[in-house]
Symmetry: C2
């Protein structure tokens, strides 16, 4: 009986922190994405591929990786000499806005164009938690099967960009691309879609461009 109240409090505290982050990032003109996927769908690999292009273009970004226990994702990004902060949730299944707020307190946001949150690998829980981001990115891997958007619709509904990753594996899989795409469009007709592969490089440029466009739009709003 009490649970509902407590849960509402948790969400209220989260949403209050998310609201503060959103106002702060609007004020500073920082574009923020929150990338959500299953474990192993390729969030870190995509960042390893996209971030060097951002760096080359002098985009000032920060990656915040969320994991239950390890810091393996952050180590991978750090190895490429890219700015990253690891958050471990101690077993919790999602990032919350309070964690992100604490990370941002330590940052000079005047020197940032883009905040990338790589959420805990989980298609269910993270989509319910607003982190103050501009866009939730729903990332699916071809290896998971084409029905995952349909089975986990909350994330697609909340998302502004859907990525179908690991397209290099398509020739080895029984994966119905049209079904996947049309499921996503049915759940969220306005969502932008990009197909990517870190093996062939498909879509890496599109994703980089999408980020750069959105950074520009955010900066212009800020003027």
């Amino acid at each position: 009986m009490g649970f509902k109240t407590i849960e509402q409090n948790i969400m209220r505290n989260n949403d209050a922190a998310a609201g503060q982050i959103r106002r702060l990032l609007a004020e500073k003109g920082v574009f923020a994405v929150n990338i959500i996927s299953s474990p192993g769908a390729g969030k870190t690999a995509l960042l390893e591929n996209v971030c060097p292009f951002l760096k080359k273009d002098d985009i000032r970004f920060l990656v915040v990786t969320g994991d239950c226990f390890t810091s393996r994702d952050a180590e991978r990004i750090d190895k490429l000499d890219l700015p990253v902060i690891q958050v471990t949730t101690g077993g919790a299944c999602h990032m919350n806005a309070q964690i992100v707020a604490r990370v941002l307190e330590e940052q000079d946001l005047d020197k940032l164009d883009l905040l990338i949150v790589e959420n805990v690998g989980n298609l269910v829980c993270p989509s319910g938690f607003d982190l103050g981001e501009d866009v939730k990115v729903a990332l699916f891997s071809t290896a998971e099967g084409e029905d995952k958007p349909l089975k986990y619709p909350m994330l697609v509904k909340e998302g502004g960009l859907a990525i179908i990753n690991k397209t290099d594996l398509l020739e080895h899989l029984d994966f119905d691309v049209d079904f996947c795409v049309s499921s996503i469009k049915k759940i969220n007709p306005g969502i932008r879609m990009i197909k990517t592969s870190c093996v062939t490089g498909q879509g890496i440029g599109d994703l980089t461009d999408w980020l750069k466009e959105n950074i520009k739009i955010k900066k212009e709003k800020n003027r």
Copy 2:
């Protein structure tokens, strides 16, 4: 502050229901597994491959599939004319013991040898909830990368069987099998391991045999 109490209540209620299920299944000599993996790691496909062999051997089983919203998994198993019950959690990220208890109330357990729970696709939350099963099965897909056992150790720690699935994709992936296996063994030295593929059929016989052995052991305990 109140949250801990409420959370403890939730776990207490779950564990009470799980205890009742465990006693009931012991009394009836029904072996129960709780299969946990990421979305799209291949839980349903494995059941589509293993269950027909169980049926051929006159093993009396029931599959209970848990999903956030859809009944797609149950439909796939039902299509093969295999006994299945779908549970939708309404967005919740795991099955709980109360749900399983309600399903079992409707069953004649004297006519059952094996209960298979296919949990919601999620590597984090389901491993915390005891469903009264004999064994938690930790299922990983090669497409997820070899570091997932290390990144989601709770499930491996709780598991009695670890499955590395989609071995047919190994030749197309940069997946370190030895690293994966040794991570699993390091977290849980006593865990049984089986490598499977629904494309080549690797390990399907081993998994079927493992289930049959355990059913036999459970029946013998019951005498």
